[in-house]
Structures are given as C-alpha cells and as structure tokens.
C-alpha cells in the first residue's frame, strides 16, 4: 500500500532527512511499560444464521474477548522520538492510550516520569464552544491557572493556524482543523511526554512542517514524543526509534531504518497478496527483534540467568517465539473473524482460539 503510493515530493523528503532527530546516548527513563495487556469483552454477531428453528429464534450474538495488546514491555528514555507502526488493528492506539494513562491496562503496569499528554483522533471537544474557548478549556483541564491560560490562548490560536475560524463553534470544524486545535493545546502546555495518535495525519503540509518543528523543540527540552501511524513514511522521516506492532505484540523495536525497511517489505507483499512471503518476513523480523524484546523485559536480578536470549535461537527457539510464530501463521489477514475459507481448513481450530477466546476471562484491573 505504502510503497505503491509513492509521494511525488522528493525535495520535501530530503529536507526532512537532514533534520532527523537523533536521541542522546544516555538519558533518564521516562516511560516504562511492564507486560501491559489489554483485553476487551465485546459482543460478536455471526453473519451466517444458525441452522434450525433454534438458530432463527436465538440471537446470533455472543460475547467474545479480544486481546488488543498482549504483553508489551517498553523502556523509553528522555529525548527519544518513538514511532509505533503496524497494520490497522495491531494494537498501536490501544498501547498508546495505556501508556498515556487514559485507559488502565487489564494486566501489567505503566510508569512514567511525568503526566503524558495524549493527542488522539476524536471529535470536537465541546462542540458548542468556539475554538478559542476550547483552547482555554483545554488549558484549564490540564491544570493551568486562568491567567496563564488567558495569556497562552493567542499563542495556541496562532500555532493552530486556524485564522478567523478560531472564533467559530467547534462543531463547524473539519477533522483536520480539530486535530490542529488539539495539537496546539497539547504542545503549548509544554508536556514532557507527548503522544500523538495519527492525529497529525489529517493536517496539511504547512501544518505538518509547523508541528514537526514544535515537536523537535519539545525533544530538545528533554521531552519524549511518541507517534503512532500505520504508514512508515510518516514515521521514518522523524522518529529516532521505531516499534513495529503486530497482533498486540512487539515484532521489532529499534533503529528507524532497520525496522521500517522490514515493515515496508512486509506491507508491500501483504498488499500484493503474497501472504506467505509476508509471513516469512514477519517471522524473520520476530526472531530479529527477540534480543531487543528480552532487553526491555523486566526480570528480577536473581532469575536473570535462566533466560539466555540470542544464544542459539536456531537450535532451540524460545517457547514464546514459537508460540508467537504459530499464531502468526495460523491467522490470516485481515483478522480471525472471517468465514472458514481455504486457510482455515488447513489449520482449523487453533486460529480462532488464539486471538479470540469465547470465554469471559476478562482481565481484572486490580
């Protein structure tokens, strides 16, 4: 998908490459995620009616539990610009919401050095208020004093580049305009940790340039920025580190060029229906990322010995890796909730039970 829609603007691209952010070598931790999981319990409706009278009478709905994120470990330091890529439904946004503290994980824990500011794609804040009033409301919601908020409103209005529209009710805004406004609020509040969830992809070229320079400014002030996008192009021009998510797990986590190159070749083959090749790449990437995953996993000092990652992966694969691979192979694009086709016939049962179990083992957040 992404390869095919090559952007005909190479000059702009080179410009970005020059200013690619480089994270400092040593800096304190800002975000630590320890085995975070997220499970949703949602109703599912069969498309095909069940046979018999009972099938006609009974509803075709049943509750299933969906694992959006299944055990992610993360160590992020100050000054890092982290990109999270992955296909739709791979758990990127859910992970980001958990890192931001908006949604509590069903298992695991997230630790941060400051309160993260999440910038998501959502509707208007208060649709009856004008843009300027929403800016002030947002500042106050973030805990600013009224004087400070009043002082910063013109700056935020300018940064959002909405012009006269800033005095119109927010219900009249397009999604791009409303995400500009929210970006302006978030950035003007000077968060130490900023998390951007595809929100900026709706902005136009002038705004993306402006927002990039604002984010760089934030990074220079010892901040941390997270950015979620399904397209590697939006990530690789700006981020210093990339995390590739697939089916709620981290496939690779590391250098931007390396990870996004792998991801690109994966999506390229996926888009051309060469699924087996794509899965091969995915498997390779998973093996490649194993060392990094193990490095960010938290273990107590005394039991550090038994796990020896990266020693002889070919001979005796880590059980976790092989299970992960099995799931990958068994599940076909775009998800598991599809009619049993040729793929399901070859490997029947485990595919359905792997991602979506019909039990109600919904995690408790204790």
């Amino acid at each position: 998908m992404d390869e095919s829609s090559a952007d005909p603007a190479p000059t702009e691209d080179d410009d970005h490459h020059d200013t690619l952010w480089v994270a400092p070598e040593e800096s304190p931790l800002t975000v630590v995620a320890h085995r975070v999981r997220m499970r949703y319990k949602v109703p599912r409706t069969d498309r095909a009616p069940r046979p018999g009278l009972l099938g006609k009478l009974s509803t075709r709905r049943s509750m299933v539990s969906v694992s959006a994120v299944r055990g992610v470990d993360l160590l992020v330091r100050e000054g890092e610009f982290v990109g999270i890529i992955g296909r739709n439904g791979s758990g990127k946004s859910t992970l980001l919401r958990m890192l931001a503290g908006v949604e509590p994980p069903t298992a695991g824990a997230v630790y941060t050095s400051a309160r993260p500011q999440l910038l998501g794609v959502s509707a208007a804040l208060m649709s009856d208020l004008t843009g300027a009033e929403n800016i002030k409301l947002g500042f106050l919601a973030l805990g600013m004093s009224p004087e400070k908020a009043e002082e910063l409103v013109p700056h935020a209005a300018e940064l959002s580049a909405l012009g006269e529209a800033v005095d119109l009710p927010m219900r009249t805004y397009s999604s791009g305009m409303s995400s500009r406004l929210k970006f302006a609020i978030s950035v003007m509040a000077q968060p130490k940790i900023l998390m951007v969830d595809e929100a900026l992809s709706t902005g136009d070229a002038t705004f993306s340039k402006r927002s990039k320079s604002k984010m760089d400014e934030l990074l220079e002030n010892a901040g941390t920025v997270f950015m979620v996008n399904h397209a590697p192009r939006a990530i690789e021009n700006v981020c210093s580190r990339v995390i590739w998510m697939e089916r709620g797990r981290v496939v690779m986590d590391g250098d931007t060029k390396e990870v996004s190159a792998m991801y690109r070749s994966f999506t390229y083959r996926m888009a051309r229906d060469r699924e087996d090749e794509a899965m091969g790449i995915l498997r390779e990437a998973i093996e490649h990322g194993e060392a990094q995953r193990a490095a960010s996993a938290l273990t107590l000092p005394e039991d550090h010995a038994p796990v020896a990652p990266d020693n002889v992966p070919e001979l005796e694969p880590d059980p976790f890796t092989s299970i992960f691979e099995l799931q990958m192979r068994a599940q076909s694009f775009p998800g598991t909730l599809q009619p049993r086709g040729r793929r399901a016939a070859t490997r029947p049962a485990p595919s359905a039970t792997a991602t979506i179990s019909t039990t109600d083992q919904r995690g408790r957040h204790s």
Partner: protein, 298 residues
C-alpha cells in the same frame, strides 16, 4: 520459569538490576489516594467553573429563542400544571393555594430527577474531553451540577414569580430569604445523586431505564403532587417518608414560601445530614472507579 515482576518495588528492583535509574517514575493509570484526588480537584476548580459557565450559556444556543428558554420552560411547566390540576381536575379541593403547592413541588422535584437521569449518560457524552485530557473525572459531574444550578436559579425566580401571579396570590415575605439555603441543600443532594448515577450509568447503561422508574417512585414518595399525610395513614410509613431528603426540601420550601414560616429544626437536620451523607457516599463511590472512566468499551 521466570519469577513474576509484580509490584512497583519489583519493577524498581528490576530496573536497578539493568543499571537504570527508577527514581522519578510513578505509576499511571491508577487512581490517586482520596486526599490527593480532592487536592487535584481543587486545582481544577477554574476548569470546573469555566466549563459549567460555558455549558450553561451555550446549552440553548442551537435553539431559536436561545436563553429565553431558561425562563420559558419553567413558566410553561408551571402554567401546564396549574391548568390541568388546579383548574381542570380540581385535585386540590380543600387546600388553600393548591396551584402554588403543586408548582413548587414539580419544579423542585424536576431538578433532582434531572440530576438522577442525566447522570447515567454523563460520562459517555463527555468522552471527547475525558480522552483528550487527564484531569480528575469528578470534575465532570461537578460541572454538570453547577450548570444545572445556574439554570435552576432562573427556575426558582420563575417559581417565585408564578406563585405571586397565580391566584390566590402568595406575596413575598421575609421568610423567602430562606429559599437560598434550601436551594443550596438541594444542590448538594443533586451532586451526590449524580456522582452515584454517573458511575452506575457508565458501567451499566441499562440503568437509565431503571432509574427513570426510581425517579418516578421518588416523585410519589416526596409529596410532589399531594400532601403525603392525606394518603399515608400508617405511622411508620409516614416516618420513613419524612426521612426522604427531597420530601423535606420540598416541604421546607413550601413552608417558607406559602406559610411564611421558618421550617423546624428537625427538617433542617434531616435534609442537611442526608444531603451531605449522600454527597460523601457518592463521591467515594465515584472515585473508586476513577481509573476506568477512560476505557474505550465497557
């Protein structure tokens, strides 16, 4: 098998084992202790105030008559009940000034009933704010009650006006000043109820239907349409009804406005103690699910 890293101290030890500095990290996505929570709320007082003020002034902005409805709606209500019950059905035979009795009952009841029913959808309808910013979520019910209170000021004014112009005319007296403290007690009660229904409605949206019935029940148990003494003979049942804070509030308001007297100490005690009690219970109940209000699904 690897030992589980579970508690915060485990995580810190594990980080130290990796030669990383865990100091300065704090867990997020968990609810703060009650004291800290109240402190955070106090910090957001400007937010709550700004939010409620603007909601109150824009709530009618999509209507052609705009804020005229602040007066018009209670006025239409008052006129409706006066015509139906006072003129057509003549329910209040033998009671002096039944129309005023009814108007006070209906308008006060309505403000509490609205708090109960609107609370159920409150958190869902404010999803955009909840997801965009991190702030103590109790700000939302507080701001909603403040907004309703600002609207209710007009309702009270209309109420006083209505009982003055509808025959037999009740004229202003010194005791009318006590409308203000009674109104404040009702606001405290409304806030407590809304905090409770906001959490219930967030977890179980179906409760919106059940709470509609509950508020109807409250209407008959608060002597809104008729004096309760007329229908309840049983001593114990009567004393249970008199423990209902809304009954006391409506009764006190009638005493003040129609009889021109100061309500007795018992009425004040019951209404204040139960309103504050419900607020404390409601606040703690709401706070206990604080971290979950940002959840995407159920």
């Amino acid at each position: 098998m690897v030992n589980e890293v579970k508690s915060t101290s485990d995580v810190k030890r594990a980080l130290e084992a990796k030669n990383l500095d865990p100091s300065g990290l704090a867990r997020i996505g968990v609810r703060p202790p009650l004291g800290e929570y109240i402190q955070q709320l106090w910090q957001r007082r400007h937010f709550i105030w700004y939010d409620s003020r603007h909601r109150a002034s824009t709530q009618n902005s999509r209507m052609h008559l705009g804020n005229v409805w602040l007066f018009l709606r209670p006025l239409i209500d008052a006129a409706f009940y006066f015509v139906i019950f006072g003129l057509v059905l003549k329910i209040g035979r033998g009671m002096e000034n039944y129309p005023a009795f009814l108007i006070i009952g209906i308008l006060l009841y309505r403000s509490t009933a609205t708090s109960i029913t609107s609370g159920t959808s409150l958190l869902r309808s404010n999803k955009a704010m909840i997801k965009a910013f991190t702030f103590p979520r109790a700000s939302i019910p507080i701001s909603a009650v403040l907004q309703a209170t600002m609207t209710a000021v007009f309702t009270i004014m209309v109420m006083c006006f209505a009982i003055m112009v509808i025959p037999p005319f009740a004229l202003p007296q010194i005791s009318w000043v006590l409308v203000i403290p009674i109104f404040l007690i009702q606001t405290v009660l409304n806030l407590g109820l809304m905090l409770i229904t906001a959490r219930i409605g967030f977890h179980v949206p179906d409760m919106a239907n059940v709470l509609g019935v509950v508020s109807r029940f409250l209407m008959y148990g608060s002597g809104v349409m008729f004096p309760i003494e007329r229908f309840v003979d049983n001593e114990t049942a009567l004393s249970i009804v008199t423990l209902n804070p809304l009954y006391q509030i409506i009764d006190m308001m009638r005493t003040v406005l129609l009889d021109g007297q100061v309500p007795d100490l018992r009425a004040w005690t019951i209404s204040i103690v139960s309103a504050v009690g419900i607020l404390v219970i409601g606040f703690i109940y709401f706070w206990r699910a604080e971290e979950s209000y940002g959840r995407e699904l159920g």
